[in-house]
């Protein structure tokens, strides 16, 4: 009983504090037109009650995490996610699931409106961006806050090539990947010795530098007005808007599959192991003959390739690009998708990307609170479930039984 009284006292104090702090906003409402002041006393009740309950719940969950959570690891306590993984791993569940998924994907564009197809394509593009960033953050352990720069590089690659030399979509696509890789190397070199926060700030700066260059070199890049009328990809001949939309959808699907394939292969390879060692302990890794410079540059370049590819797709999809689409916020949203979904885990990143793109789309009513929601979600996840919604499951090499 004493404990409950204690908690009630704490929560009441919290509520009082918050009432005082939010008094000017919640209670006082100034009407500038009539020069009057309206006093909304009822709000004190709402704010008080809400903060009382919320602060109690918050402390409750924090305590629970402190006492119970730290001893449990994801390996010991089979949560719902692990059970889903186990069921999906069985052949008889996995094969029909994949087949029906494949069928759904193929017929999807014909079942829904073109607008929906466009949205889904955007979501798929975001998945590829997330997976690309995952290579840098999840595999390499390098905090990258300027990923949108590579996105911009890919998009402008197509835009500029088309503008000056009329290069078509399919020629621009591999070039976009290459230019992404080049810029990945460019950012890799200066940050080789940096760790943690310093690395993050420099990559953030790099992202902004690229955007500002695009905006200010207007003689070359057309600056803030952007490049318009970029042609959509054609299929032997020019496609209609609807045809191109469906075409882009399939292209995105193929790219997502390609990305997942490459990432799986990377995980289970000498390079993948080297990256993991580097992530765990740089000094020990170096002592085992792993060239940190090469590994970090590889990570940045490999991660950037995907953004370059998707950038070309973006230009072909929206037919108009300008520097404003590649801001810091874009980099952050990709980061949110990766972290929320599960850093380092491919299904996690895919889920995160879908959540970040589709929730604002389908819950338009909450549009104004979008940033607030993502912020709160990020804070809550970081405290209570930092490994993300679908945590990474380490596959181990095992002897006497093959890989697990």
């Amino acid at each position: 009983m004493n404990k409950i009284l204690n908690e009630a006292k704490k929560s009441a104090l919290n509520a009082l504090w918050i009432i005082v702090l939010t008094f000017p906003i919640m209670v006082i409402k100034v009407n500038t037109i009539n020069a009057t002041v309206r006093w909304r006393w009822m709000n004190i009740l709402w704010v008080g009650f809400g903060s009382f309950v919320l602060s109690w719940m918050w402390r409750y969950f924090l305590d629970r995490r402190e006492s119970g959570g730290s001893s449990k690891s994801d390996d010991e306590k089979p949560g719902r996610i692990v059970k889903i993984r186990k069921t999906l791993a069985e052949r008889r569940v996995r094969v029909p699931t994949l087949v029906s998924l494949a069928v759904l994907v193929v017929v999807f564009p014909f079942l829904v409106s073109f607008y929906q197809v466009g949205i889904m394509t955007s979501a798929l593009m975001f998945v590829i961006l997330g997976l690309g960033l995952n290579i840098v953050i999840g595999y390499g352990g390098l905090l990258h806050l300027g990923y949108a720069a590579f996105y911009a590089v890919g998009a402008y690659n197509y835009g500029l090539l088309y503008l000056y030399w009329g290069v078509p979509f399919w020629a621009a696509l591999p070039l976009g990947a290459v230019s992404g890789m080049v810029f990945g190397l460019l950012i890799g070199f200066p940050v080789l010795r940096l760790r943690g926060d310093y690395l993050a700030i420099v990559t953030l700066a790099f992202g902004e530098i690229v955007r500002l260059l695009l905006e200010n070199l207007s003689g070359f890049t057309k600056g803030p007005e952007g490049i318009a009328q970029i042609p959509r990809p054609g299929f032997f001949s020019k496609l209609s808007l609807q045809g191109a939309t469906i075409y882009l959808f399939y292209i995105a699907i193929v790219l997502v599959l390609l990305t997942i394939f490459v990432m799986r292969r990377l995980e289970d390879s000498r390079i993948g192991r080297a990256l993991e060692a580097m992530r765990e302990d740089e000094i020990a890794a170096q002592s085992m003959g792993i060239d940190l410079t090469k590994a970090k540059l590889t990570t940045f370049a490999l991660g950037a390739v995907w953004a370059g590819l998707v950038g070309v797709i973006l230009a072909g999809k929206t037919t108009y690009i300008n520097p404003g689409s590649f801001t810091l916020m874009e980099s952050v949203m990709i980061l949110v998708a990766v972290v929320l979904g599960g850093t380092g885990s491919i299904p996690g990143v895919i889920l995160g990307a879908f959540l970040v793109t589709l929730i604002p789309e389908y819950f338009r009513a909450l549009q104004d609170y979008r940033m607030l929601m993502f912020g709160v979600a990020l804070v809550v996840m970081s405290i209570f479930r930092p490994q993300g919604i679908i945590p990474k499951v380490r596959k181990h090499y095992r002897v006497g039984g093959g890989e697990s």
């Binding site: 490459v262 292969r265 990377l266 390879s269 000498r270 390079i271 993948g272 192991r273 080297a274 993991e276 060692a277 765990e280 302990d281 000094i283 020990a284 890794a285 170096q286 002592s287 085992m288 003959g289 792993i290 060239d291 940190l292 410079t293 590889t298 490999l302 380490r394 181990h396 090499y397 095992r398 002897v399 006497g400």
Partner: protein, 247 residues
Amino acid sequence: MVFGGLRAVDHVNMHIDEGEIVALIGPNGAGKTTLFNCVTGVYTPTDGDIKVSADGGEVTRTNGMKPNRITELGLARTFQNIRLFSTMTALENVMIGRHPKLSAGIFGAIFRDSKTREEEEKVIEDSLVILKKLGLEKHANEAASSLPYGAQRLLEIARAMATEPQLLLLDEPAAGMNPQETRRLDDTITRIRDEEGITILLIEHDMSLVMSLSERIYVLDYGKLIAEGNPTEVKANPAVVKAYLGE
């Protein structure tokens, strides 16, 4: 090796010949691990030369080389505070040690040509063989951090051996071990030298191990070399006794 005003390693002359087991001893803070760090490339010596002679006889000056390059030259080390990759299994830790002897790159990772596939199969086999040599094969699938302390120390040695070194630098391999484990370590290190032909340089505080195992000893105190010779000579050296026990 000078750090600002501190001479951590001060005019130390050492040489290690092939097939020897040499010990580097001295009180805490004498500069032994700093010397290791200079030799393995973690620090760049502010003065002096470190030279490694390869099998072919060519001598390389390794000052300023990065640690991974020095490992490729044939020097591998263990750490005073265990630096295993804790999320990986024992087997995987040793597999990381194989890194410099493998060649697959991004192309091999993505396309898995036959050369890469063969290499990957061999890696697991070879790593298991190394684990067996140190008696750790039963821990192969366990997470490194869950191994008993003595096994963790042995695993660090196994991981270093995986790089196929000419010279193995062991930094306090017996730290925290009980007498039985220490005796076993004695046998293991001797075996490594005899069967694998690996030269050993070890830092150690356990005097019984040092006296039993090593053929030559260098003694460091406050960064300076105060004695060198075989175990009997060193044990009797008054400067050594003074350094360890005071006046």
